[in-house]
């Protein structure tokens, strides 16, 4: 330590100057950065079940935060109070008495109930009432979308005006998806090549898209607007560019758009173009 002091003290002035310089550039940088928006959190969810993620996240955060502060206190007290010093002796305790075992068991059970079981019960509810409560195909108003992922874009197919998949008026789109507000949107998804994952962050929805297998997912938008589509599973070197746009329209606007888009699709249909004729019967 002494050597360090003799090394640093004569250079104190230059050290201070250096620190000041770093500080100043920091300020300049911060001013520059202030012009761009810096997001810290996550906006309001845009899907009906999205609030469930936020609620559960912050419940866990409170539980975890309290536990961690307790751990810190339990580390800090002995570190400050029980430091080795002349004349000080550690207590001799193997922690193997019946009493110690009882205390350990009780604390473990309480921690499990508070930290784990509570969260588990809510999570089970969320899964059964929301994430895994896939809308029934017979339900009126379910908007069905077939997804074919590929390196590196999303192909979407909606049934169009006739409500049948695999017909000439299917609405096909690439990396852009238009859906109605207030109706369940149900996905059936597969991939052409590698595993992708359809990630709609504002909807709090994510599901892997596997080749050779149909996966399903759903959400229901609670407001109109433009949202984000991302790929969440590493799918090759352009993985980071496999994003798209999700547009949620009010019901009236959506109906107009659907009719129009279906008409355009019918006009543009090319039976020679087998590449674009992927589709499957909607699996119930």
């Amino acid at each position: 330590m002494h050597r360090l002091q003799t090394l640093l003290l004569p250079r104190l002035k230059s050290c201070a100057a250096l620190l000041a310089l770093i500080g100043l550039t920091g300020v300049a940088r911060a001013q520059e950065a202030a012009e761009t928006v810096n997001r810290w959190g996550l906006g309001e969810p845009a899907s009906d079940y999205g609030y469930r993620f936020t609620d559960l996240f912050w419940l866990i955060t409170i539980l975890v935060g309290v536990s961690f502060v307790l751990v810190l206190i339990l580390i800090a007290i002995p570190v400050i109070r029980d430091r080795a010093r002349p004349g000080h002796k550690a207590s001799f305790d193997h922690g193997s008495s019946l009493h110690d075992k009882q205390v350990t068991t009780v604390i473990s059970v309480i921690t499990f109930l508070v930290l784990d079981a509570w969260v588990l019960v809510i999570a089970m509810q969320d899964l059964r009432e929301a994430y895994w409560a896939y809308p029934d195909g017979d339900d009126e108003g379910v908007y069905e979308v077939q997804v074919l992922a590929q390196q590196w874009s999303w192909n979407f197919r909606a049934a169009g005006a006739d409500g049948e998949f695999g017909t000439a008026d299917d609405i096909l789109s690439n990396s852009e998806l238009v859906v109605p507000v207030g109706r369940p949107v149900s996905f059936q998804m597969t991939s052409k090549d590698v595993i992708h994952a359809l990630f709609l962050p504002e909807m709090r929805m994510k599901k892997d898209v596997n080749p050779g297998d149909l996966n399903k997912a759903w959400f229901q938008a609670n407001r109109s607007g433009d949202f984000t589509i991302l790929c969440a599973e590493l799918c090759g070197f352009a993985h980071y560019q496999m994003h798209g746009k999700l547009t949620v329209l009010e019901q009236d606007t959506f109906n107009e758009w659907e009719q129009e888009a279906s008409k355009l699709a019918l006009a543009a249909f090319d039976s020679e173009d087998t590449e674009s004729q992927w589709a499957w019967d909607w699996e119930q």
Partner: protein
């Protein structure tokens, strides 16, 4: 029975230092090997952080040399290779050789009172197999058509010929297979040694907890490395021979057809126990170090052993939590969620025992002790944040975001690394007969734990804000571009973290060759390894000692005033 397989001390340089059968030399080989790879993996991490904060800017200092074709700028494929190999190297070539290879070899025979491992030749083969594996892995970076770009998990079909044409992925599979084979050899050797070569009186209830942890690690290695081994064989066949274990029929030109999800099951059946393979030795070090430096018996020895054993057993049945978004059936998903929550109970017991061991001790806050307390801190953070990921309701959003990256770096990377630093600084005087500089050690500790906590906690915020992992450039998507300020902050802190490691390198190398000569038992600990002269003689024990006392009988009331510890070979005064 007690390790009488005495073989003559070799005299030639090759058989003494290179192809040595001596567990102490092999331990040091593993140690230097692991440290070098840790450095390489660390440099890769720095390049990854550079790219994330400054997309499209040439990597300073080493970029021009490493990527001359792009003037030092990383391209997406190279970036993918970097995070793939960073993970592979840190797990298989950095931490595993250091914790299990180096300290498994060093601690087990010395702490149980054996003259060597039970299979010295297998022990040597274990090192040279991982060495060859490391060379194959390194070579895979330079082959035509590219190195592995599919992530350390290398999910099919991105890792089959559908997604990766190059030789690099194939060589990666070979390298992982070889490294795994080495771990199996080590595991068999450690288990057999611990079962067969314990000194008289060294009962299972008197084993230092480090040895217990290494024993359980070996059990996991022997049970689960074969699973990744078979996955690698299947992947190799898919790539080299044209089979289709992991490629679905819809993608096969000439018939056949398998399932890419099969790969995920195989990978995680191994992959989750692997987390515990890395964390168990660190837990063992912490259990012992806390007791040694708090001058107090390890609280609840039996409960700790039970907890570690329970974790070992349960680790086999929780792997599904890595696949919550894969499309598991709801019943499987819920079962894995419940099982994952249950595995937190033994971890909690272990935690209470650690905190209890500190309580009312006589704490000597030397460098190894700081690292041990550091493990409690980072493992606390990492373990608690595991709850978000075990809960499917929150995992659906957080899966494959930076939240996961922060979580697993704290639990298995930082905890394992801190445990390794604790072990390195603790056993250094016995390994090399010299002492490390304490001031530099403390600077290194604080310079590591502060930026490290900052970086990985910031990653929780990034993940909560929805930033996906394994993205070459987060500014490419509008919704993520406004998170770039966090990326920049994390990179600054990560560079500081990287720079502070140079203090360790300097301290380690300088102390190794020029440090002050250490006493034989500088920490005043009673375990058998510290009863040895320094340097430890070739046969370790001239006479196999008889053990009378447990490893943690510190501050025993019968010991009197002048010392608070007792060698395991002495009887406690009555």
């Amino acid at each position: 029975m007690s390790g009488d397989h005495i073989h003559p001390e070799p005299t030639s340089f090759l058989s003494k230092y290179v192809f040595s059968h001596d567990h102490k030399v092999i331990a040091k080989q593993f140690m230097w090997f692991g440290l070098i790879w840790l450095g390489i993996g660390g440099i890769m991490a720095m390049m990854i952080r550079w790219q994330l904060a400054n997309p499209g800017m040439p990597v300073p200092a080493i970029g021009e040399f490493l990527f001359p074709r792009t003037n030092g700028v990383l391209d997406p494929a190279t970036y993918n290779t970097l995070f793939t190999m960073h993970g592979t190297i840190m797990i298989f070539l950095g931490l595993t050789p250091l914790m299990i290879g180096a300290f498994g070899n060093w601690c087990i025979p010395l702490m149980i009172g054996a003259r060597d491992m039970i299979f010295p030749l297998l022990n040597m083969l274990s090192f040279w197999t991982v060495f060859v594996g490391g060379c194959v892995g390194f070579y895979s970076l330079f082959v035509p058509m590219g190195a592995n770009e599919a992530g350390w998990t290398s999910y099919a079909t991105l890792s089959t010929t559908v997604g990766a044409q190059g030789l690099g992925e194939t060589l990666w599979a070979v390298a992982v297979f070889l490294i795994g084979a080495s771990s199996i050899m080590g595991g068999i050797n450690y288990m057999t040694t611990i079962i067969r070569l314990r000194a008289p009186g060294m009962t299972w209830g008197k084993l230092p907890l480090t040895v217990w942890a290494l024993f359980l690690t070996s059990v996991l290695n022997v049970l689960f490395i074969p699973v990744i081994g078979s996955a690698m064989i299947l992947l190799f066949l898919d790539r080299a021979v044209g089979t289709s274990f992991f490629t679905p029929a819809s993608l096969m030109q000439g018939g056949g057809g398998g399932d890419p999800i099969l790969y995920q099951h195989l990978f995680w059946i191994f992959g989750h126990p692997e987390v515990y393979i890395l964390i168990l030795p660190a837990w063992g070090f912490v259990c012992d170090l806390l007791s040694f430096f708090a001058r107090k018996p390890a609280f609840g020895y039996r409960a700790s052993v039970g907890a570690m054993t329970a974790v070992t057993v349960l680790s086999a049945v929780v792997y599904g939590h890595h696949m919550f978004t894969t499309g598991l059936s709801p019943m499987l998903g819920e079962s894995f969620m419940l099982l994952t929550m249950i595995i937190s109970v033994p971890a909690e017991i272990l935690f209470f025992n650690w905190l209890h061991t500190l309580w009312k001790g006589n704490l000597r806050l030397e460098v190894p002790m700081l690292w041990a307390i550091g493990v409690i801190f980072v493992f606390g953070l990492g373990g608690l944040t595991g709850i978000y990921l075990a809960t499917i309701g929150t995992d659906i959003f957080l899966h494959d975001t930076y939240f996961v990256v922060g979580h697993f770096h704290l639990t298995m990377a930082a905890s394992a690394l801190f445990g390794t630093f604790g072990a390195l600084t603790f056993w250094f005087p016995k390994m090399f007969g010299r002492r490390m500089n304490q001031t530099l050690g403390k600077i290194h500790f604080w310079g590591t734990i502060v930026p490290l906590t900052f970086v990985f906690c910031l990653m929780f915020a990034m993940g909560y804000a929805g930033m996906p992992r394994r993205y070459f450039d987060h500014t490419s998507a509008e919704w993520l571009a406004d998170l770039q300020h966090m990326n920049k902050m994390a990179t600054h802190a990560a560079f500081l973290l990287g720079a502070v490691q140079l203090v360790f390198v300097y301290n380690f190398i300088k102390s190794r060759f020029w440090g002050p000569v250490a006493e034989e038992n500088p920490w005043e600990v009673g375990t058998l390894d510290w009863s040895m002269p320094t340097p430890v003689p070739y046969y370790n024990f001239k006479e196999i000692p008889t053990v009378h006392t447990g490893p943690h009988e510190f501050s025993h009331p019968a010991l009197g005033e002048d010392r608070d510890w007792i060698p395991m070979t002495e009887k406690l005064p009555t």
